[in-house]
Amino acid sequence: MSRRLAQIICAIFGVVMFLLFFSPHPAARTIALTITTEYWQVIYAFALIVGAVSFLRVNVKNIQRGQDSGYRIISLIGLVAMPTVAIIWGIGANTPFMWIFENIQVPLQSTVFALLAFFVASASFRGFRARSLPAAILLISAVVILLSRSWVEGQFASGLIATADWIRSYPSMAARRAILIGIGLGSLTTSLRVIVGIERTWLGGGR
């Protein structure tokens, strides 16, 4: 029964949101605004609680087993500390929350992302091989695009940028459009399957 109820709610909201999106009627616009500014945010808040509880359970369980305990304790401290400072001092500019964010999270994340450059350098030496004709075409295209985004000037550069533009405007764009249309049709089909109740994996369980 609970699964059926969830399915009915999902179908009703799916159809209503679809109709609201295309309706210019003032009443429809008001309902759309209420749903997007209020209901949607409430659902998001509940989803966050589920995520936080799940994160807590997984980490506590692994700490008890002694798996990567140090890292997990730091994660849990972060999970508790950030909401605590946010609740006490707020999240605006010049608050402890923002200080932690700007001086701990931003440098850490930038550092991790910067490591990608080293992996790319290593992978370019070991992995980017022209083993076949398609691989060679891909490699040459990548080199042309890379150079066109770099600092190259003069007669050579204008030819290179023209070639890069041609790659972007024709083969790359054709592939992108095909992928986008595929994604669009796939999303539409999946949404319809969920609304009419054919697709039920989102409800969880094996059936």
Binding site: A32, T36, Q109, S110, A121, S122
Partner: protein, 267 residues
Amino acid sequence: MKLEARHWTFVGLLIVVVGAMLLGVRPDVTISDETQRMFEYIDSLPEGSVLIYSFDHESSSLPEIRPAALALVRHSFSKGHRIIGVALLAEGTGIGYRLMEMAASESGRQYGRDWVYLGFKPQYIAAILSMGESIEKTFPQDYFGTPYDSLSMLSGVVNYQQVAGVVSIGDGNMAVHWIEYGQSRFGIRISSAMTAAMVTTYDPYISSGQLHALIGGLRGAAEYETLLKIGGGGQRGMLAQASAHIYILLLILAGNVIYFVSRRRRD
């Protein structure tokens, strides 16, 4: 510890990038059509136009995206545009505010009169859609908790109809959401500054006109700074980026030479 080949490639990259940064050379760059288009778009907006700058990126891409964002905001302030700053990814919130505050203080723009910062709103699709109906209902107060209707700049700004355009500063697919829900649903003009890796993703949208203009990566930022006739992080980073690119190309070349030589020997 014995150093392997990959460790030497790491060391080489470090030397190349640090060396290029230390040289401090700011190369001139040729302006691409896409950057020129973005410059002309911002430049053509009349004084007093309201623009939304949406900081839709994470801190990981900050070194690449910040120069472009700063150049755009500086340009807007110099043209007398009124700017609304928002963030649809939580990490962009503080970054966006600091950047706008810096650009505003450089050009003597006053908070509340010339620019406001509304902060972060979770659920980006919901936020984009609801701003099309009412910006005040989406952001009842600004980043500091000041009520929307107390900010003089926002007087008369109800929804996208009073906004000249949105500039999404992003490192992912957020500009796609702006296009799908902002441009398609409400007809708001969308432009974007994005990381170089994302530029080709947006080619179909540029071609169809759904994305009005874009600047991509550090090169785009350097080009924009050249057009503005100001220095900045884009020009500063160009030599380091170009050196790293050439270093990687040499590695690809070396890897392929070794591969073909060893294959010939094996055959």
